[in-house]
């Protein structure tokens, strides 16, 4: 995945950029399966790798796939990025180790959901139970976000193109 991202950064052909992004999304979905997040992996594969790539290709077709011009040497952004990365690495030193059973994330409220979720809701998939029942309000908000994005895109793109006819 790191190789894909580095190649993506250096590539200037936008079609290659989009294909590499699709590849990166698929690899992310695979890593998510390895992390036991199967619902998330399915969503990432369907939505991230499938639909996002289609939308990017559609937009690329509409923008006529211009190759990116060479920028000036990116020393300042590189410095800023590396600096931020180092600060973040310093911050993660104190985080719990990978797969630590007594980390706070596992001892706070998750055991309650895992034990009593299937009994209270009758749904063995705890992710769906939490998403739809315990935190159903958040899912309502998410549906409204998708709805608003759809409305926004309709507002932006549904008017027929008109061409400004030169300066008066």
């Amino acid at each position: 995945m790191m190789v894909a991202v580095v190649a993506l950064t250096r590539s200037r052909n936008l079609f290659a950029v989009i294909v590499l992004f699709g590849l990166y999304s698929f690899l992310t979905a695979t890593v998510m399966v390895a992390l036991d997040a199967v619902d998330v992996a399915m969503t990432e594969a369907a939505v991230g790798a499938g639909i996002s790539t289609v939308l990017l290709l559609g937009a690329l077709h509409l923008c006529n796939s211009e190759e990116e011009k060479p920028a000036h040497k990116p020393w300042l952004p590189l410095l800023v990025t590396i600096g931020t990365g180092l600060v973040l690495v310093y911050g993660t030193w104190d985080l719990p180790a990978f797969s630590d059973p007594v980390a706070p994330i596992h001892t706070h409220v998750a055991p309650r959901y895992l034990e009593q979720g299937p009994r209270e809701t009758g749904v063995p998939n705890v992710v769906t139970a939490v998403l739809a029942s315990y935190r159903g309000f958040d899912t309502l908000g998410e549906t409204m976000v998708v709805f608003t994005a759809g409305i926004g895109i309709i507002a932006l793109l549904s008017r027929r193109r008109y061409v400004r006819r030169g300066k008066q």
Binding site: M42, L55, G58, L62, T121, V123, T139, T143, G150
Partner: protein
């Protein structure tokens, strides 16, 4: 691409299975990975596939514009209706356990309907975005 026989045959073979799989993902979200979002995205992907092979106008006859736009709003309204049904029967907003005499069955019912609402909205939005992008491309 309508005249390419390989694509047409594969499309006719695969699209019903894709739709069936989307239905499976939607309904089995309780017992395995799945749920509304994934199912909506898979249905939209099947329709995009159909539109790419058979042309946008044919796809528009199967899923006309008014249907897609009603789907976008209909899913959210369905979700809110389930929430208000909870209020109407006597509980709080978005309470499922009051929807039936047995609270667990009520939960099942509530989860089923809201996942359906989510799938309808997601499918409608993704399909509408695809229609708008392609229509813009044809205007150019």
């Amino acid at each position: 691409m309508k005249n390419d026989i390989i694509l047409r045959v594969i499309g006719k073979l695969l699209i019903p299975f894709i739709l069936l799989f989307a239905l499976y993902v939607q309904l089995h979200g309780d017992y395995g990975p799945g749920g509304g979002f994934q199912a909506g995205a898979i249905i939209a992907a099947a329709m995009v596939f159909y539109a790419m092979i058979y042309g946008l106008s044919t796809a528009r006859r199967v899923f006309p514009d008014w249907l897609v736009e009603s789907m976008i709003a209909g899913g959210v309204l369905l979700y809110l209706a389930v929430g208000f049904a909870g209020l109407y029967v006597g509980g709080n907003f978005l309470d499922y356990f009051v929807l039936d005499a047995d609270p667990v069955t009520g939960q099942h019912r509530g989860i089923f309907w809201i996942e359906l609402g989510v799938a309808i909205t997601v499918c409608g939005v993704l399909l509408k975005i695809f229609y708008l992008f392609t229509q813009r491309g044809q205007d150019q």
